[in-house]
Subunit: 373 residues, 2 copies
């Protein structure tokens, strides 16, 4: 990692602050956080704690998390099935049922232990239980660590669209224990790297350059490199969220690749492609469209394709998914206003913009010309 | 209405402002608001409008409301069944399904046309649709006009408790068209008067005195008297909500009679007693308990009983509902923290307080001694 512009001496542990006035909260990043009582205790609202996790993460980390909770707490748990297909209202209702069965009051705290699906559902459950209770994010996937656990977006999918139901609800704290990445399947690590690359593409050309060099170390689970990538990603996301908590403007930039990506996920059925895989392909589509609009060069697009390949990510749309299928799903995107299609595109590498004037024929041609698997 | 301390010349139309910073909104009160385009148009977020109403209100007021909406709007409607028994997640899902079927985006506006149940469900649907969209309250019952449509509490019941799921979500505006009270059944008018009396009991002894004299006019649907009662009720509620939007403190005073009342509703099955009827009995129980604690005189309790009787409200608990049933339900109240029972009681008429030191034996004896139907 010579010649990089990032921190000269990588820190083993660091803390960022998400600045949102009286809803501000810390993100702690580093190894060994999970079983250490110092990190969770300050963020509990009362004595009642409900841990929400899934059947894959529970055997790996549930006991370690519980070991870090004080003996005088009333700790319960809900273990949900794994996967994006569970991200629906019926599973959030299971969390609510468990809270009511346990007689938990509005000073209880929910802890989300798992990936983005668990975090989004737990946050939504917390947002609406007795009109809002405390919750703490303990993300165990790279994707959740750099993206979904930060920023307060919570929710579930609806058969007619992804994340259609939800709330903005900020956690009391985010604990990123980098040790949890040791058990992450390589495909999910790559999916997380898609979002890391996204931060470089939308806001930070230096970080993008650093990532191009650091990619082998990241895929080899080098902890200082991972810590640094997570820290820079969370810092970029926090800054954008602090600027625009409820996505009235600049926050939409975080959706680079997501309009195309959500269409792929919806068309293929949620859970068939990993979210990060769909976003990776979507980012390449956004880059290629930006080139057709004259903003990026062919070399820029090739750089995007190369870093996605280095991260082990797909660069082709699903075979059999035509432009009509893409456009039908994209027209339902939450960013659209009064029937205008809004896309996040790249003015240059490291500088994204919101654009709603793409000619339909340019977009259609891009989708049709884009490589299929 | 001679000798009263209220407005000398009752206004036909008035506007109050709920002061909540960038979430502030107006409450317009008066006759003829429903079909007049001037009142709704300024509060619509975009061109898409979803009216949510029920099968009783729709035939009475839906067309009048629609007549006041401009021709270039995309107006849809959801007509739900009537009654408290419909206030559940399944019916909120019907609103979400309708929004998604119509392809409505995050700049749509929901309009709640109906009583408290419609307002609470529509507000909750708006709070969670695409993480929050605009909504306008058009309450058509006295109860909703003076209570549930003001203050941003939204939500639904759960089989294990009332209003257990929900969100704080403020409307863009509240339109109280007093003409709608002409079709309100007398029992529902009385139920609304219970909440009006509550404002006098918790904060305003003068208003209580005015109500004692004005009660025949109110029950006779005298429009200036009703307008004045609604205005003063909304003013007291707005002031309390502005002070404490998310019920960390003083807002809990609005729950006078509600802890007992919710227990009655839950025990009898939601919809069997009207909410206002249960609250009326609950307020008399709270007054009687306040007397046992030495704060109210017997004459004070008799005054409470007399004004409830004048309003046509019940003053007896359900036969067959013992102290155990009351206490079991009361222990699940959202106001309780860490297993302490918190009640709203009266230091004097016009001055309520939050109290969590009632000896269990005093409370149990009060419940057991209280008259049954």
């Amino acid at each position: 990692m010579q010649g990089l512009t990032m921190t000269a001496t990588p820190q083993a542990q660091c803390t960022l602050e998400v600045a949102l006035g009286d809803r501000s909260y810390p993100i702690h990043i580093g190894p060994g956080l999970l079983g250490d009582p110092r990190w969770i205790a300050p963020h509990l609202a009362g004595k009642q704690v409900m841990i929400v996790t899934n059947s894959v993460v529970a055997p790996l980390y549930l006991e370690r998390l519980k070991a870090g909770l004080a003996d005088d707490l009333e700790v319960r748990e809900v273990v949900l099935p794994d996967g994006e297909a569970t991200k629906n209202l019926a599973h959030v209702e299971r969390i609510w049922d468990a809270l009511l069965e346990a007689g938990f009051n509005r000073r209880c705290t929910l802890i989300a232990l798992g990936g983005g699906v668990i975090g989004d559902m737990t946050g939504f459950a917390a947002a609406c239980y007795q009109r809002g209770v405390a919750f703490v994010q303990v993300p165990t996937t790279l994707l959740a660590q750099v993206d979904s656990s930060v920023g307060g977006k919570t929710g579930v999918n609806h058969p007619r669209g992804k994340n259609m139901l939800g709330a903005f609800w900020q956690p009391r704290a985010v604990l990123v224990d980098t040790d949890t990445l040791a058990t992450l399947p390589p495909g999910e690590l790559s999916a997380g790297l898609a979002e890391v690359i996204k931060y470089g593409l939308i806001r930070d050309a230096d970080f993008l350059g650093w990532l191009e060099e650091a990619m082998p170390a990241l895929r080899g689970l080098d902890v200082p490199a991972l810590t640094q990538a997570i820290e820079r990603s969370c810092a970029i996301k926090s800054a954008i969220v602090a600027e625009d908590e409820t996505e009235q403007g600049v926050r939409a930039l975080l959706n680079l690749g997501h309009t195309f990506g959500h269409a792929i996920e919806a068309h293929q059925g949620y859970g068939s492609w990993l979210h990060g895989e769909a976003v990776a392909t979507g980012m390449l589509m956004a880059a290629a469209l930006s080139a057709r609009l004259g903003w990026l060069s062919g070399a820029d697009v090739a750089r995007v394709e190369a870093i996605l390949e280095a991260a082990g990510l797909p660069r082709q749309a699903p075979s059999g998914m035509g432009s009509k299928a893409f456009l039908d799903h994209m027209r339902r995107d939450k960013k659209n206003l009064d029937h205008r299609l809004r896309l996040i595109l790249l003015r240059s590498l490291g500088d994204a913009c919101i654009y709603d004037e793409t000619p339909l024929e340019t977009l259609t041609a891009l989708i049709e010309d884009f490589p299929r698997r």
